[in-house]
C-alpha cells in the first residue's frame, strides 16, 4: 500500500489516498478518502472524510461528515456533520455536531454531541464522560462513567456511575438523564425524572422521580424513588 506522508504547513489536494500519515499542520479544501489514515499533527478538512481506518493522536477538524470503519481517538476530534462508523474508541476528546451512528462505541475520554442530535449504536461502554443533547439509543449500555443525555433507551441499560477520571481529573457527579427506558435497567448513582422498564434494579445513590415497572423491581437502601407505578414484583 502506498503511504503518503505529509509534514510541515501544507494545503493538500482533496481526493483519494491509500495510506495517509499527517504529521504537520495540514488543510484540505475538499473531500478526502483514504484506506488508512493517522493524524499526529493538525488536520482540517473543509469537506467530508471517508476512511476505512482512522487513528487520531493529534487534532482533527472536519467540516462535513466522517464515515469510517474503525475510529480511534487519543487526541482531539471535532466533526461539524455526522459521524458514521463501525467502531469508535474515544480515549481523547470528541465533539460531534451531527448524529453519531456506530456499531460499537467505547468512551474512556470525553464525547460530546451538540445540537440535540442522537447517538445510536448496538453496544456502548463508558468509563469516561458522554454528554448528548439528545437521545442515546443502544441495544446494550454498560457505563461506569458519567452519562448526560435527554433520553437513554434500549434493551439493556446498566449505569453505575461512581464518577469519572478523565485526563487526570476526577469528576464526582451523578449521571443525569430525564428519561431512561429499557427492557432491563440497572442503575446506581443516577438522577432521573422517569425510569420505565420491564426488570429494574435501583441501586444506591439514585434519585428517581417516577418509576414504572412491568416485571421485577429491586430497590436498594439509599435509593430514593418518589413514585412507583406498574404491575411489578418487588424483590
Amino acid at each position: 500500500m502506498r503511504t503518503t506522508k505529509i509534514d510541515g504547513v501544507v494545503k493538500m489536494q482533496p481526493g483519494e489516498y491509500e495510506s495517509l500519515d499527517v504529521d504537520g499542520i495540514v488543510k484540505c479544501p475538499g473531500d478526502l478518502v483514504a484506506e488508512n489514515m493517522t493524524v499526529d499533527g493538525i488536520l482540517k478538512v473543509e469537506g467530508s472524510l471517508n476512511a476505512n481506518r482512522l487513528d487520531i493522536d493529534g487534532m482533527t477538524k472536519i467540516k462535513g461528515d466522517l464515515d469510517c470503519g474503525s475510529l480511534m481517538v487519543d487526541g482531539k476530534l471535532k466533526i461539524e456533520g455526522d459521524l458514521n462508523c463501525d467502531s469508535l474508541e474515544m480515549d481523547g476528546m470528541g465533539t460531534v455536531f451531527g448524529n453519531l451512528i456506530a456499531k460499537g462505541v467505547s468512551v474512556n475520554g470525553l464525547l460530546t454531541l451538540k445540537n440535540g442530535t442522537k447517538l445510536e449504536t448496538e453496544k456502548l461502554s463508558c468509563e469516561g464522560i458522554i454528554k448528548v443533547n439528545g437521545e442515546i439509543s443502544a441495544d446494550q449500555i454498560d457505563a461506569e462513567g458519567l452519562l448526560r443525555a435527554k433520553e437513554i433507551v434500549g434493551e439493556y441499560v446498566k449505569i453505575r456511575s461512581k464518577g469519572a477520571r478523565v485526563f487526570g481529573l476526577f469528576f464526582r457527579k451523578f449521571s443525569r438523564v430525564p428519561l431512561i427506558e429499557a427492557t432491563t435497567i440497572d442503575l446506581s448513582g443516577v438522577k432521573a425524572n422517569q425510569v420505565n422498564g420491564q426488570d429494574i434494579k435501583i441501586g444506591k445513590g439514585c434519585r428517581i422521580e417516577h418509576l414504572d415497572c412491568s416485571g421485577h423491581l429491586s430497590l436498594a437502601k439509599g435509593a430514593k424513588v418518589k413514585n412507583i407505578t406498574g404491575d411489578y414484583v418487588l424483590s
Binding site: S137, V153, G154, E155, Y156, N193, G197, Q198
Partner: protein, 205 residues
C-alpha cells in the same frame, strides 16, 4: 391534527403488541418505525410518548410477520415509503425487468416498480399475455406504486376484455368480480421483492 382517540401510549402499545422496549427502539434505529411517529405530549410526570394508533399497530404487525423471513435491512426497504427510494436495476436477464428504464424513461427505479414487474412476470409466465399488455400495465401502475407500502400489499391482476389491469389491496382478501372479468392471479409485493433478491443473489454467485 390527531385526536386523542387516534393515539396510543407507548405503555399500552407494548402491552397490546407484546414487544419489549428493546425491540421498539431497535426497530426505530433500523428505521422500521418512522421517527415522526414518536409523538411527545406533556403529562403530569413530564413528557410521555404516543403513537398514531392504527399505523403503529399495523406496522408492528407487519414487522412481526416479516422479521423471520427478511433481514432488518430488507425490512427497512420493504416498509419504507416508495417516494424517496431508488433501486439499482438487478443483474438479471429478465425481459420485463430489463425493459423498465426504457418504459419509464429513467434509469433510477423505485423498489416497488421492480418488485411489481418481477411479480407480474412470474404470475403471467404460464398465461398467454402479450409483452405489450404487460408493459402497458406497468406504465399505468407506476404512478400508483409511489404511494404504496410494499409490506402487506397484494396485487391482483385481471383482464377486462382485451385490457390487462391490476388492483392493490391490503392483505389477502377475496375480491369478487363480475362475470365480465377474468382474474389471472395475485401476488404479494413484499414476497415478489424477496423472490427478486433471491434470484439476484443466485445470479451473482
Amino acid at each position: 391534527m390527531l385526536q386523542e382517540s387516534d393515539l396510543i401510549s407507548k405503555k399500552e402499545l407494548l402491552e397490546k403488541t407484546e414487544i419489549s422496549y428493546g425491540q421498539l427502539y431497535r426497530w426505530k434505529r433500523e428505521r422500521l418505525i418512522p421517527e415522526d411517529w414518536f409523538v411527545k405530549q406533556s403529562t403530569f410526570t413530564g413528557q410521555e410518548t404516543f403513537f398514531p394508533r392504527k399505523p403503529i399497530l399495523q406496522r408492528i404487525k407487519e414487522i412481526k410477520r416479516l422479521k423471520d423471513k427478511h433481514s432488518l435491512g430488507e425490512l427497512a426497504e420493504i416498509l419504507a415509503p416508495q417516494s424517496d427510494q431508488a433501486l439499482e436495476l438487478p443483474t438479471l436477464d429478465h425481459p420485463l425487468v430489463l425493459r423498465l428504464p426504457e418504459l419509464l424513461e429513467r434509469e433510477e427505479l423505485k423498489t416497488g416498480e421492480v418488485a411489481f414487474a418481477w411479480g407480474l412476470a412470474n404470475l403471467t409466465k404460464k398465461s398467454r399475455v402479450l409483452q405489450v399488455s404487460l408493459e402497458n400495465l406497468i406504465l399505468r401502475v407506476a404512478p400508483v406504486l409511489a404511494d404504496l407500502e410494499l409490506a402487506g400489499t397484494i396485487c391482483t391482476v385481471f383482464r377486462v376484455g382485451s385490457s390487462l389491469n391490476a388492483v392493490f389491496s391490503r392483505g389477502f382478501r377475496r375480491l369478487n368480480f363480475d362475470t365480465g372479468v377474468k382474474e389471472i392471479g395475485s401476488f404479494a409485493l413484499d414476497e415478489a421483492l424477496r423472490g427478486l433478491r433471491g434470484a439476484q443473489n443466485q445470479s451473482n454467485h
